[in-house]
């Protein structure tokens, strides 16, 4: 029924072609496998290697395409062309960037703790990649569909915090450490509302497995859980540390942030991890709130997933181009005083609604949506009234009061891959 492993059709096809007539493949008519009997474990390993290779390569390729697309979009948003030299429409620009990053001189600060300094890029890239192991890319196309899928994603992404601290501390650079402190404060503050926002989704689906959550979405949960989506999306933007939450690498204040002293491929891994996080966040939003790969029939599920993914990515990039950077006090206050309350309201309202309609049908989901939207709008309005604008921002600064100028430059780290230290 629910999480039978052999639902994973991608894995099963490869496995059955290799292993032939084993019990798992009885329902299918593979006459004989390539491997002799008794070699099922090898078939298991080969099938695993195959699908994991496919997923990892797809992610890395997706990052290359994403970097290109994001820079092209930046150009459009800023009324310029964007990268257009290498390949048609500049498609090879990010490939060239990747090659360039790999073959640049690797610098290690003399004072650095070399072991931790080399460990940090791996520590940040590996969890970013591991998140993709539970994401369903299409019907039966996933590596694993864990019962604790959602919590697994939260756990794996929380490892980033430690990697950031390691990177900054090992490079023995005061700017990097200050940036890491900011970054960690940001990451841990937004992790709470991010997790709490998903409680409503889990209550509705009755499971934390991503496959079950997709199956439970008679209508996309963005309609039923507007407040949850709002909070999750904002918190996820903050977890990615992108504009308007990019205060960890506010280049006017902190140079490049915690990865200040990294060069060459180690620097590249940090940016790889950042873009992988962007991809995985969009994939998670797609899966949890936009009904994942579901769609209507003639179009295959993978295309639905990709289309929704690209739409979410576009919105993320749009946000990044539109909004200026926030100050650290604004960011933290927003997380603890704004988003936290919104998630609490969301949990209680959703819990009461589910107590009335346990295990809702699609019709009941529509009723819930009709109730939840006004609740969402009213509570967002109320919280924004409550937080308000502090007086010191509107009034003229008096002589004794400290002033907090808003970070003025609105050009984000658009040329991220070109902007690594040392120049070309």
């Amino acid at each position: 029924m629910n999480h039978l492993f052999l639902d994973n059709s991608l894995w099963r096809n490869i496995y059955c072609v290799l292993a032939g007539e084993s019990a798992e493949c009885a329902a299918r008519d593979y006459s004989s496998g390539f491997l002799p009997g008794g070699m099922e474990w090898l078939a298991f390993l080969l099938a695993a290697a195959a699908i994991i290779g496919i997923v990892i390569n797809a992610v890395l390729g997706g990052v290359i395409v994403l970097i290109w697309g994001e820079r092209r979009l930046f150009g459009r948003f800023q009324s310029r062309t964007g990268p257009n030299r290498w390949g048609p429409f500049g498609t090879l620009t990010s490939v060239a960037d990747a090659v360039k990053t790999m073959f640049k001189e690797d610098l290690v600060p003399a004072e650095a703790d070399r072991i931790l300094f080399n460990l940090a890029p791996v520590l940040i890239a590996a969890p970013a990649l591991l998140v993709f192991s539970v994401i369903p890319f299409g019907v039966g196309t996933y590596v694993a569909d864990l019962n604790v899928g959602v919590l697994f994603i939260m756990a794996v992404t929380s490892l980033t915090t430690l990697a950031v601290l390691t990177a900054a501390w090992s490079s023995a650079n005061r700017i990097a450490i200050l940036s890491a402190l900011r970054s960690v404060a940001l990451l841990i503050s937004y992790e709470i509302p991010m997790a709490l926002a998903l409680v409503g989704v889990i209550m509705l689906a009755g499971s934390m497995a991503l496959g079950d959550i997709i199956a439970a979405q008679g209508i996309p949960f963005i309609l039923v859980q507007p407040l949850g989506f709002f909070v999750f999306f904002i918190a996820a933007m903050a977890e990615m540390a992108r504009a308007p939450f990019d205060l960890t690498e506010a280049e006017s204040e902190l140079a490049a942030g915690y990865l200040n002293d990294y060069a060459s491929m180690k620097f590249g891994l940090f940016f790889l991890a950042e873009f992988m996080a962007e991809l995985s966040t969009s994939a998670i939003v797609t899966t949890l709130f936009l009904s994942g790969w579901k769609g209507f029939d003639p179009i295959p599920s993978h295309f639905w997933f990709a289309a929704k993914l690209i739409a979410v990515l576009f919105v993320i990039i749009w946000f990044r181009m539109t909004l200026p950077r926030l100050r650290v006090d604004q960011v933290l206050k927003f997380a603890w005083k704004g988003l936290f309350e919104l998630t609490m309201i969301n949990i209680i309202v959703t819990a009461v609604l589910i107590a009335i309609w346990p295990q809702p049908t699609t019709g009941q989901l529509w009723i819930m949506a009709a109730i939840n939207w006004p609740v969402a709008i009213i509570s967002i309005w109320g919280v924004s009234k409550l937080l308000g604008t502090p007086a010191y921002e509107n009034s003229q600064p008096s002589a004794d009061a400290p002033t907090y100028p808003v970070a003025s430059e609105s050009i984000p780290a658009a040329s991220v891959l070109g902007a690594d230290k040392g120049g070309d």
Binding site: L4, F5, F44, A48, I51, I52, G53, I56, M102, F103, K104, E105, D106, V108, P109, A110, N118, P121, V122, A126, L129, L130, S133, V143, A144, D145, L151, A172, N173, I175, I177, L181, I188, E191, I192, L196, I202, L204, G206, M208, N260, S264, G268, L269, L272, D329, L332, K333, W336, K337, F340, M344, I348, P358, Q359, Y392, A401, P402, Y404, K421
Partner: protein, 137 residues
């Protein structure tokens, strides 16, 4: 079901191994490139100094940090544990409210109220804010 559980995690372990191997492989490729004279490696004292925006670095690790960061770490641990207790309840909440009605809601409602008291305390003590009144005075 039992075997499915372990097969999933076997796949996950292989994935984790790959996820660690891929970045290490990239670093190794980059490292090996310096032996075929593709990647330069000419370290100097200036290159190996900490980068502080171009100025000569004047100190290594700062000895003192703003203490307020620790508030957030503490709040985070407390509310992270709270979150963890809400997840298993949420998973079975639909089934439970079918069987026990509002009792399933009541238990967690009390829990949330108790935790909200702590939250209100932190709010009152201005632990949730970055700029407190002490700073403004």
């Amino acid at each position: 079901m039992f075997e499915d559980y372990f097969r999933q995690y076997a796949l996950l372990i292989i994935f984790a191994a790959a996820a660690v191997t891929v970045p290490i492989g990239m670093l190794t490729m980059s490292y090996l490139a310096q032996f075929i004279k593709v990647r330069p490696s000419r370290p100097t004292a200036v290159k190996e100094s900490a980068y502080e925006g171009g100025m000569p670095p004047f100190s290594s690790r700062p000895a003192r940090f703003n203490f307020r960061y620790y508030y957030y770490a503490l709040l985070f641990v407390v509310f992270d544990v709270e979150t963890v207790f809400l997840f298993p309840w949420a998973v079975k909440y639909g089934v439970m409210s079918q069987q026990f009605g509002f009792a399933a809601l009541g238990a967690v409602f009390i829990f949330l109220i108790v935790v909200t008291v702590g939250y209100a305390y932190a709010w009152r003590k201005q632990a949730l804010e970055w700029v407190t009144n002490d700073d403004r005075s």
